[in-house]
């Protein structure tokens, strides 16, 4: 690993201000933060690809895309929450609840997919608002509030489903389209992910809403005194997160063909946070971008896919994953060359 780091370090840092304008432009576009992720991704792809060319087959590429779609959605939502300076640990169980509800509503309406989906989304919105209200008006710290709703939503999902997978959506054209269909040769799952991500990216980067979210995350006093209604933003962001989590839940239903109260959504919260943090979000807020998160999601997706492809023992996979995370970040830091004192952000 070390010599990788060396290679990076020795290659002239492309973001040095003395560089040519065109390159500067390119970098502003990519974002310095992301360069190191791209490098890591590149290295990883080359290693895996050379080991087993199957990796590059469209079929496999699609697989990676569909595999990361769901955790990717949550990671994107988490990015916004983190930029705001908060955290949402309940996304996983929100998705689980939404999955169950979508399937049950679908069954209850004797097979009306639209209604099933609508019900799930509406519910997601409510879950998000619950989080927001508890935080803003209950004055509960976001982490503990969403740790609480993590348990609560999961419990509700298990209660309504009595802990069993619900209904069967595998025969419904809409759900089939979601899980296996494709537009222009690209699987629907990937479309959903890409579109949602694009929307959030634009919101965060180009609208005043997004800019204010950065401001709140950066210094909420300053934001407040400059006339930003912080509470409304907190509610809004959590509501959006709930909505996206519900979307993820619906995709889970579509893929597994049934409403899954827990299985399929448990542990997604850590994945989402990992991706966001690896993508360059500062957990104290005010810093981060969708682009970085997506790169991180891909990095993790490629790793998982590649290691299975190369038939690496699952236990080693854990070790490898941990190592990759560290290496990827270390590259970033080596490049930014800050001084080595105190807690890194």
């Amino acid at each position: 690993m070390s010599q990788t780091a060396d290679r990076i370090a020795s290659s002239p840092a492309p973001d040095s201000p003395t560089r040519g304008l065109s390159l500067r432009r390119a970098l502003d576009f990519v974002g310095v933060q992301n360069v190191s992720l791209l490098i890591a991704l590149g290295i990883l792809v080359t290693i895996i690809g050379t080991q087993d060319p199957v990796f590059f087959q469209t079929a496999n590429i699609k697989t990676i895309g569909t595999a990361v779609a769901i955790s990717g959605l949550l990671a994107v939502a988490q990015t916004v929450v983190i930029v705001l300076g908060a955290l949402d640990i309940s996304v996983g169980s929100q998705a689980g609840l939404a999955s169950v509800v979508s399937a049950m509503a679908f069954t209850a309406t004797s097979g009306n997919a639209a209604l099933g989906i609508a019900a799930a989304l509406a519910l997601g919105l409510c879950c998000g608002l619950v989080n927001g209200v508890v935080i803003v008006f209950g004055r509960v710290n976001p982490v503990i509030a969403t740790l609480a709703t993590l348990a609560a939503f999961k419990g509700v999902a298990q209660l309504v489903s009595n802990g069993r997978a619900q209904g069967y959506t595998g025969a419904d054209p809409v759900f089939i389209f979601l899980s296996r269909g494709s537009i222009a040769g690209i699987p629907t799952l990937i479309w959903v992910f890409v579109l949602a991500a694009a929307a959030v990216h634009v919101m965060l980067k180009y609208t005043d809403l997004g800019r204010n979210i950065y401001a709140i995350g950066g210094n909420d006093n300053a934001a407040r005194l400059s006339g930003i209604n912080i509470n409304r933003y907190i509610l809004g962001v959590y509501a959006m997160t709930g909505l996206i989590a519900a979307l993820a839940g619906i995709l889970i239903t579509a893929r597994t063909g049934s409403g899954q109260p827990v299985s399929g959504s448990e542990g997604l919260e850590l994945e989402a946070i990992t991706a966001a943090a690896l993508g360059g979000c500062a957990l104290k807020g005010g810093k981060g971008a969708v682009s970085g998160t997506i790169l991180a999601v891909l990095l993790l997706g490629v790793l998982t896919n590649g290691m299975t492809l190369l038939g690496i023992n699952p236990f080693w996979q854990n070790v490898a994953k941990g190592t990759l995370l560290v290496v990827a970040v270390v590259i970033q830091q080596v490049r930014s060359g800050e001084r080595r004192v105190g807690l890194p952000t």
């Binding site: 069993r164 997978a165 069967y168 025969a171 399929g264 492809l309």
Partner: protein, 317 residues
């Protein structure tokens, strides 16, 4: 595409010579039983030669199951064995394999497709495993000559796992038959399927029933049973007053190996290696010959106790 059109491959692609790769997708791949299963599979592959098995741990994640299934299909494996985290995903799994024309066996937990037809199955039959346990517990209870009045039964399992629920229900039924007479009250304890989790949850139940003399314990797996038994013994109950019948035997065996007095009286030894091996053999046979897979090959389980566990071929780490 709407994703619906079925690419009509023949169910099983004719004879295949040359190297074969098989994907073994396992739920809870880090649990001892499934680790053994994976080991059995790879060993079998070795002795068959020219066969490569890639094992994937699905945890308890149905969504990951689908993803990994896609991945396996995408990289063109010749056969798939899967232990689904949730049996409800059967239709999706079977369809995908069909569409790709890859032979698939359901390992350990059976799978049905949309029309309710079962996929080829290798492993143990969940309910009947439970029945074995219940039967043994019933017999021991009868021998002990305890009365329903001074006895309680603890059934411990992760209540949102369908397979677990099936096993436990199986045990209940069989116990009633075997024990004859009236059945002691059954206390259901929801756990996280870990030994410590079972211990902590059982602790509360035990204090709530302190005047109870005798205890019968069963559960979803050895973790639950040994956990509860330990809790009972920690609370001062004598091993003689406990009838714990494990499921898996890989933890119960530890007491026996050490020659300890223990409430873990017996355990149903289900040999993961056995299942893993036969799954691979079945797949390879069918791929080589082109014959369809055997509909159901149920591996044999043996009820073991302190006296006979070694003969049964149970390796205790």
């Amino acid at each position: 595409s709407s994703g619906q059109e079925a690419t009509d491959n023949p169910d099983v692609g004719g004879q295949k010579t040359g190297p074969i790769t098989i994907a073994y997708l396992q739920k809870q791949g880090d649990q001892q039983y499934f680790v053994d299963e994976a080991a059995g599979a790879t060993d079998a592959a070795k002795e068959l030669g020219e066969v490569k098995v890639s094992v994937v741990n699905l945890g308890l994640d149905s969504n990951k199951a689908i993803s990994e299934l896609d991945a396996a299909i995408a990289r063109g494996v010749d056969g798939i064995a899967i232990v689904a985290p949730d049996q409800q995903i059967g239709p999706q799994v079977i369809d995908k394999a069909k569409q790709a024309g890859i032979p698939l066996v359901a390992s350990d937990d059976s799978l049905k497709d949309g029309s309710g037809a079962e996929a080829p199955f290798v492993g143990f039959d969940g309910p009947s495993m439970g029945q074995e346990v219940g039967k043994k517990a019933g017999e021991l209870y009868k021998q002990a000559g305890w009365t329903a009045a001074d006895t309680r039964i603890i059934a411990a399992w992760k209540q949102d796992l369908t397979v677990c629920t099936d096993r436990v229900n199986g045990a209940k039924g069989a116990f009633t038959e075997a024990a004859g007479g009236d059945v002691p009250q059954i206390i259901e304890v929801g756990t996280d399927n870990t030994p410590t989790g079972a211990q902590d949850k059982a602790g509360a139940v035990i204090t709530a029933n302190q005047n109870v003399k005798h205890w019968v314990v069963w559960g979803c797996n050895d973790e639950n049973v040994t956990g509860v038994v330990t809790a009972l013994q920690n609370s001062g109950k004598k091993p003689a007053d406990i009838i714990g019948v494990g499921l898996g035997a890989y933890l119960s065996c530890k007491d026996w190996k050490a020659g300890q007095q223990t409430g873990n009286r017996a355990a149903l030894f289900i040999d993961g290696r056995e299942v893993g091996a036969s799954a691979i053999r079945a797949l390879v046979e069918s791929i080589r010959s082109g014959n369809p897979l055997p509909a159901k090959s149920v591996a044999k389980t043996t009820m073991v106790d302190a006296t006979n566990w070694e003969q049964a071929g149970l390796a205790c780490t």
